[in-house]
């Protein structure tokens, strides 16, 4: 069994030596492999062997050191993260407000038209220095710290540009103040730029505040999913007998009910759930029945009725009755945990469209630094008088306007919102690449059974010949089909059970692949199967065969599958079986065709039956791929791909896993089983066919958002950096004030993130 790694809250710590004490005590406990305590977060990460060491042992070990270990679910760490983020946002807000207030005051006292209305002390440059210094060295301290650390590692980022730009403005202003005569001697007006340095810092901090606030909303979906987790479970302890429900749903039991933390639930625990309560983990109902709202996990809006033997999903809500279930999956194994893991992985993945942005942003900051130097040189050599002032201000504008953040945020924020939104609707997207492909698909292949249909065929017609009755036809057919593993056999056997027929003893049995079965019942040779089986084994009586074929064709043209029963080389009857189409199938096919996607159906059914179903769904005749054995599905996908089409395969994810994997995009209609989620790029846990259309619509909208973000981020930098450098000056006399540059920069990354957040409102 692999070691368990868990995070716990530790109470009572106040200094670094507490950390040492707890770690020492934990490491001495048998079964603990690794223990690391963090004073700042008041948390301990412990790696332990759960067979040797229980949570109780961990608690005792920490108790012995004089502290308290609290085993709380992972949502608590989210609360910590939330508090940390709130603290950071608050800090940014205060610093931005302070800088902008100071900047505003200085600006008032320096702007020629407004200057006269300001108090005279504010017009004093030394007072301005006193006001600007805390902005530069307190509010902007984080820029300095980040720049110094980055430079130490020969890296540069956004902070580097802001630090250089604002420091240059501040130092220049201080020098002007100390040596005014020198600057006047150079033909320059000896005026400081404290307004520029302070307002730039204020606006960039404001931009960062807005960006951080918006960014935290992009991961809202995953936080919601984590928040769904139950915190406690009511476990039954004691003997297994004497248990039941009274008519009013009250539990009658002599066993003890114990409320335990979710982290302590183990596989096999019997858990009781009452109406209105949250089901803590995954399991199987052992007693009782209820209606369960699974919408929060699967996106399925209708409550599901469950009885003994049915699966229940952790984090879903019990609506009506009380029941007991046995925990089958706990901790990281539960469906909710698997969904969270999948969504987290998708949000961490990169869309292929991001490659160019990645390449550019890795060289971006050094290139901007070089551009700024070129700007200075050009203005100093070729610019009008005072060339230094022009060179200086335009250089600062270039440094400040450049916004690599917008490029870095363009794709991931949209992917995060898109995959999060999908997960909330029961659509699990494995990675950003799948999202990108889904937006470009041209052909979609549906597996018929279990995808377009419910996958539960039923007997629709029993047509006996001669003096055979419907019951005897069913009796002989069901008796031989009982040994068959074919999906249609189950329908016939079930119909036999429903009608209460007596099953006959089968003395020999053989399956004839692709045709049917044969066997011996009561000493008579029996064949049961499709038309080709009958053609091979039925002898004589061509008239009866012709009449039967005619009847069979009629049934097949209604989308039914027909089987023939032959006893002692004589045709005795026909049985028709049909699978019911899902209500949403036709609507889904139409919606896909409306958005320009070719819709195909793949099935093992014969051509006539398949064509009829295809027609019912409004598919083109050539798009119905009939008589395809499971192993041939891959071949059909390959054929479609040869036509240079991006092909999507939609199946149940179990018997068509190879085809799902081979298709450019595999969509599994699934209950979230590991097998299906592994093979498919997208899993529809809501089992709703309409979600296929929703997936494509969502991916198209996400891609549109990404493209718009990238156009904005690239366009912004490509267009505005030259403008800031002054390329428009020779022709139009346009220059960009560094203050406007900082405003544009602050707004650019905010607009990218806000545009991604707009996806949340998308109707899919």
């Amino acid at each position: 069994m692999p070691p368990t790694k868990q995070n716990f809250l530790i109470r009572g710590m106040h200094c670094a030596s507490c950390v040492q004490l707890i770690e020492k005590s934990l490491k001495k406990t048998p079964g603990i492999l690794e223990a690391s305590v963090n004073l700042a977060t008041e948390r301990a990460t412990i790696v332990y062997n759960s067979e040797e060491c229980s949570i109780d042992n961990l608690t005792k070990s920490v108790d012995a050191a004089g502290y308290k270990l609290i085993n709380e679910p992972s949502s608590v760490s989210n609360d910590d993260e939330k508090k940390e983020k709130e603290r950071e946002l608050n800090d940014l807000k205060i610093k931005a407000a302070f800088s902008l207030a100071i900047g505003g005051l200085i600006f008032w006292a320096t702007l020629p038209t407004l200057k006269e209305t300001s108090p005279s002390f504010l017009q004093n440059f030394w007072v301005q220095l006193l006001l600007a210094a805390p902005v530069q060295f307190w509010a902007a301290a984080s820029f300095y710290r980040a720049t110094i650390l980055a430079i130490k590692h020969r890296n540069a980022n956004m902070d580097t540009l802001v630090t250089i730009g604002t420091t240059a403005a501040f130092i220049y202003s201080v020098l002007v103040l100390i040596f005014p005569a020198f600057f006047k001697g150079q033909g320059l007006t000896a005026e400081p730029y404290f307004d520029t340095s302070t307002i730039i810092i204020g606006l960039i901090l404001l931009g960062r505040f807005l960006e951080a606030r918006a960014k935290s909303q992009t991961s809202e979906a995953i936080k919601k999913l984590i928040g769904l987790q139950a915190k406690t479970a009511r476990v039954l302890r004691g003997s297994m007998d004497s248990f039941g429900f009274a008519q009013d749903g009250q539990v009658l039991s002599s066993r003890e009910e114990v409320d335990i933390l979710i982290g302590e639930v183990v596989v096999g625990d019997l858990i009781i759930v009452r109406p209105g309560e949250k089901i803590p983990v995954d399991g199987v109902i052992t007693e009782g029945l209820s209606s369960i709202d699974e919408s929060m996990v699967t996106g399925e809006s209708m409550p599901a009725d469950k009885k003994a033997g049915d699966l229940v999903i952790g984090a879903t809500i019990n609506k009506t009755g009380s029941f007991v279930f046995r925990a089958t999956k706990v901790g990281q194994e539960t469906m909710l945990s698997q969904i969270i893991k999948l969504v987290q992985e998708a949000q961490g993945s990169k869309a292929p469209i991001q490659r160019l942005a990645d390449l550019i942003s890795s060289y971006f900051v050094p290139i901007v630094l070089m551009t700024a130097i070129v700007t200075f040189i050009m203005w100093y050599i070729l610019g009008p008088v005072p060339s230094f002032t022009y060179a200086f201000l335009n250089t600062i504008a270039v440094l400040i306007i450049a916004c690599p953040c917008a490029m870095g945020l363009a794709t991931p924020t949209a992917v995060m919102v898109g995959t999060g939104l999908a997960a909330q609707k029961g659509i699990l997207i494995k990675n950003a690449k799948a999202l990108e492909i889904a937006s470009k698909i041209k052909a979609i292949v549906f597996d018929k059974t279990g995808t377009l249909t419910y996958g539960k065929p039923k007997v629709t017609d029993l047509i006996p010949f001669d003096n055979w009755s419907q019951d005897s036809l069913l009796q002989w057919s069901a008796s031989i089909e009982k040994s068959s593993e074919h999906s249609l056999a189950e329908a016939i056997v079930n119909e036999g059970k429903t009608r209460g027929v007596e099953f006959l003893t089968l003395s020999s049995f053989e399956a004839i692949p692709g045709k049917g079965v044969k066997g011996v019942i009561e000493g008579r040779q029996v064949y049961f199967g499709n038309r080709s089986l009958v053609e091979e084994y039925l002898q004589g009586d061509p008239l009866r065969f012709s009449l039967a074929s005619q009847r069979a064709s009629e049934l097949e043209s209604q989308g039914k599958t027909v089987m023939y029963l032959v006893i002692e080389k004589k045709l005795v009857g026909l049985i028709a079986v049909a699978d019911t189409l899902k209500e949403s199938a036709k609507e889904t096919v139409k919606a896909l065709q409306n958005i320009g996607v070719s819709v195909f159906m793949i099935t093992g059914d014969n051509q006539r039956t398949a064509l009829t179903i295809g027609q019912m769904l409004g598919m083109k005749e050539e798009n119905v791929l009939a008589q395809v054995l499971p192993a041939q599905k891959e071949e059909k996908i390959k054929e479609l791909q040869k036509n240079n089409q991006l092909v999507v395969m939609v199946g149940d994810g179990i018997n068509d896993a190879p085809a799902l994997a081979l298709a450019d995009l595999g969509i599994a209609m699934s209950t979230g089983t590991d097998v299906a989620m592994e093979a498919a790029d997208i899993t529809l846990v809501n089992k709703d066919l309409k979600s296929v259309v929703a997936t494509i619509n969502l991916s198209k909208k996400t891609l549109q958002t990404i493209k718009l973000n990238l156009v904005w981020a690239f366009g912004y930098n490509i267009l505005l950096i030259p403008v800031a450098a002054g390329v428009l000056y020779p022709l139009f006399g346009i220059l960009l004030n560094p203050i406007f540059a900082s405003l544009a920069m602050a707004l650019s990354s905010v607009s990218v993130v806000s545009n991604s957040l707009l996806l949340k409102r998308a109707k899919i």
């Binding site: 963090n38 130490k152 890296n155 980022n157 956004m158 961490g348 990645d358 060289y363 953040c405 990675n431």
Partner: protein, 118 residues
């Protein structure tokens, strides 16, 4: 005139210096044995890591840099985007199934590193 020549020469020199300083870094590969500590401070140290194919390797990221730029680490090829709380060790376990070079970066793609699977 002399000042203009001087500015041009100094500026040119500075451009060359910036190119050499930021883009001319030589890669130093650090081999990870079972686990490796990565300091997140003004970038990643070490930033080029070699890990064995098919074996489980734990990368322990430890962020001491408060810059929000570095608050997330993204190893896209492994589907990992993890928040790195300040002064807290965050372990990422990798079991690479294919050889090759896999980039990792901060959330905004400003700071970069590379994982070499061999």
């Amino acid at each position: 005139m002399l000042d203009k020549i001087l500015v041009a020469i100094l500026g040119g020199g500075l451009i060359v210096f910036i190119y050499w300083f930021f883009l001319g870094k030589k890669e130093k590969i650090v081999r990870a044995k079972d686990s490796l500590e990565i300091l997140v401070e003004g970038g990643y140290k070490p930033d080029v890591i070699s890990i064995p194919l098919g074996e489980e390797t734990t990368l322990n990221f430890f962020r001491t840099d408060p810059s929000s730029c570095l608050e997330e680490v993204v190893i896209a090829d492994f589907g990992i985007r993890k928040l790195l709380p300040l002064n807290e060790k965050v372990s990422i376990i990798l079991t690479p199934k294919t050889k090759g070079e896999f980039a990792f970066s901060c959330g905004m793609n400003m700071f970069h590193g590379k994982i070499v699977v061999s």
